[in-house]
Point group: C2
Chain length 178, copies 2
C-alpha cells in the first residue's frame, strides 16, 4: 500500500455516504490495523445537492485529514461527479454510477462505470443499500482491506434486522468488479 | 461566536459518539448555516477502549479539520477523559459524566459534572441514548446552535420509531444545564 491513500465518496444527501465512510474507516482501522481518518465537511457547498465523505488511509500517522489528491472517487450523481472529480489524481480510480453519471470527466483515470443504484434496487431489493453495494465494489478494488473485514464493519454499523440485506448488497457490489 | 470553535466527544466505542458528532455538525451546518467539519480518527490509540469524534465549527472555511485547542470536551468515561482532556484549552468547557468520570482533570476549566448516562438509563429509559442526552447538554451550552435545530438534526438521523425516545433524551440533557 502507498503510505497515504485518499478515498472520497460523493453523491447526494440521503444516500448514506457518511455511514459508508465510517464503515470503510472502521474496516481498515479496526480490522486491518491501518490508520484511518473519516471526515465529513459541511460548508456552503454542502447546502446544495452534492454531498461527500472522505476517508484517508495510511500506514503512518495522519496529520492532515482532508483529501487533496484523491486515489479513489465514488460518484453516485452527476452533480457530485462534476464537483468532486477535480481532485482525482491522474491514474486514480473513478467508480461512477452507470445510470446517474452519464458524462464522465475527461482525464487519465481508471473508470469503473457500474450499475450501483440499479443493483441495489433490482438485485438487493432496496435502493437505500446503494452505499453498501458501492462499498463492495470499493473493497474489490482496494488492496488495503479485505471483503471479509468490510463485511465485519458493515455488520457492526447497520440496524438490527437488516444484516442479510446488507451482506447481500455488499457481495453484489464486490461481484461487479471481481 | 469565535471564528473557530472545537468540540470533542469522547467515551468508549458503542456509545454513539460518531453519530453524535455527525448530528452536531449537521445541526450547525444545515440548520444554522455555519461551516462544520466532523472527523473521526482511528489510529493505534483507537484500538484501545477510548474513542473520540470531533466537530469544528467556524464562520470561515475550515482548512485544518483536526481539533488542537478544544473549546468543549465531552467525556463519558474516565479513560477518555484522562486521554483526551490534554488538549482542552484554558477556560474551556468540560462536560463529564458524573458516574463514570470520578477523577476530573486539574486545570482552569468550566466543569459540568452531569448524570448523563444515569439520565439516559433512568429517565429516558434506554442507556443507548446517552449520546443524545449529551447533545442536549451541549446544545444548552453552545451559542452557535439552538436546541430546536439540534432536534431537527437528531430526527433526521435516528432510526424510525425512536423519534420520541430521542426527543425526550435531548430535552432531558438540555434541562441538565439550563
Amino acid at each position: 500500500m502507498a503510505q497515504r491513500y485518499e478515498v472520497r465518496l460523493s453523491g447526494s444527501g440521503g444516500q448514506g455516504l457518511v455511514l459508508g465512510g465510517v464503515i470503510l474507516a472502521e474496516a481498515v482501522a479496526l480490522f486491518e490495523g491501518i490508520n484511518a481518518v473519516q471526515t465529513q465537511s459541511y460548508g456552503p457547498e454542502a447546502r446544495g445537492g452534492a454531498s461527500k465523505s472522505e476517508v484517508i488511509i495510511s500506514d503512518e500517522s495522519i496529520d492532515y485529514p482532508k483529501a487533496t489528491k484523491i486515489d479513489l472517487l465514488l460518484s453516485l450523481t452527476q452533480e457530485a461527479c462534476d464537483k468532486y472529480s477535480v481532485d482525482l489524481k491522474e491514474g486514480g480510480i473513478l467508480i461512477a454510477d452507470k445510470r446517474m453519471v452519464t458524462k464522465l470527466p475527461e482525464g487519465n483515470y481508471k473508470v469503473y462505470h457500474l450499475p450501483i443504484i440499479d443493483t441495489a434496487k433490482e438485485k438487493a431489493g432496496k435502493v437505500f443499500v446503494a452505499n453498501i453495494v458501492a462499498l463492495g465494489a470499493i473493497a474489490g478494488l482496494l488492496d488495503s482491506v479485505s471483503i471479509e473485514n468490510v463485511e465485519k464493519a458493515v455488520l457492526q454499523r447497520v440496524p438490527k434486522g437488516t444484516e442479510n440485506l446488507n451482506r447481500r448488497a455488499l457481495a453484489l457490489g464486490y461481484e461487479l468488479v471481481t
